[in-house]
């Protein structure tokens, strides 16, 4: 599926998962999905996003609530430590199932969990997990506000046909907002796998003298500059 759709494995897996949940949700008339991610998962996500070069949004880690089409994903345990969950289960003699992929130590997340995080208290002279959780919350709050700002900008910049007005994009300052605006546009059009590099690539179209007139995007999408606007071209046959 990933190969035929020219998607990353992560995005392809998310699409398929989304499809599965959507069908289940419709059958069961049940549009809220609770996910068991806990505070230790959040720490790992933040550290992984930092070492992947994510900005404020990524450093905010997972959200407590997220929309996925009609579905709402909720993570009620995001501020609860794994040890607290274990103690609760133990105390009440509850049954549980371990995700099989948790045991595979070859994955980055598992190395972060087993090798990096346990080492932090010695480095910092105290357990920094609560602090990392707070840093993530502050980033999430800032990202949320920036999202609101960009929503407004987007409404002012997009044309009826879904193109972006060149002059409007150009007037957006600073560069971080311009990048978010492009990302908002790519997300709105469901161009997959778009991050920093893709937004920068689209922004290179703004350089009329030296930039390209057309750039490639993941999933066989293209962005093009024409007649004072930026356009997206969907993959052929889609």
């Amino acid at each position: 599926y990933a190969k035929s759709m020219k998607l990353s494995v992560e995005t392809a897996a998310r699409d398929l998962r989304h499809g599965f949940f959507s069908v289940k949700a419709k059958n069961l008339r049940c549009y809220q999905i609770l996910i068991a991610h806990h505070a230790d998962d959040q720490i790992e996500t933040v550290l992984m996003n930092l070492c992947r070069g994510s900005g404020t949004t990524g450093l905010g880690g997972m959200k407590r609530e997220a929309k996925m089409g009609k579905l709402t994903i909720i993570r009620p345990l995001l501020n609860v430590w794994r040890s607290e969950i274990d103690a609760y289960i133990e105390e009440r003699g509850l049954k549980f199932r371990e995700d099989a992929s948790n045991a595979t130590s070859e994955h980055v997340r598992n190395r972060v969990r087993n090798d990096l995080v346990p080492n932090l208290p010695e480095v910092f002279g105290r357990d920094p997990r609560e602090a990392i959780l707070r840093a993530a919350q502050l980033c999430r709050e800032d990202a949320e506000f920036l999202g609101m700002v960009v929503d407004n900008l987007y409404r002012m910049t997009v044309t009826k046909s879904g193109a972006l007005r060149f002059a409007k994009v150009e007037s957006v300052e600073p560069i971080s907002l311009k990048r978010r605006l492009i990302q908002r546009w790519l997300n709105e059009n469901e161009v997959p796998d778009c991050g920093f590099a893709e937004a920068e690539r689209v922004l290179s179209l703004m350089d009329i003298e030296n930039g390209p007139a057309k750039v490639n995007l993941p999933g066989d999408w293209h962005a093009r500059r024409r007649a004072g606007s930026l356009f997206l071209e969907a993959p052929k046959g889609s």
Copy 2:
């Protein structure tokens, strides 16, 4: 000095350093100070700030340029790796001096440098330092924009006498901006050592029913709620 001024050692040291540089700058008529912080220092700062619970501003790390009163602090080597500097020095047979405190391995920064950072490539399967540097840059850009937004809010909220109008503060959403607004006010008045906890403490004054009417701040400052505004009280004898 720290003790008598009721300051943290870090802030006291910064004040004294600032005083020293100010005198030198005046004598030499030389208001720009170049500091040799390099990209590896930046990585350490970002990791330390994350594990200290800093938000977007702290995760942005050190700035390339910063104002310190009349002085401008410039860090021209902030995107250059230590190894590149070493190679340059070696190549040209330049003399240099090692900061004596670099050798003290008891400090957190040194443990981050010697124990944490060298371990990261193994955890992530590649050297994540470039990515961390980019994450910091994205945060710096976002923090810069948020700073501009808060500057505008501050001008609209502060009274001629330097108090903050209650109703105006209350209307600021989301909470992250409210906190930044308070921090802006505390910085403007040079209340020392003010971070997240201090901003939150001042915001507790906004709760008329259950909050306090006066809170303590570092350096013997106080914030007080009175007649629809928030006031700062300077330390006695200052």
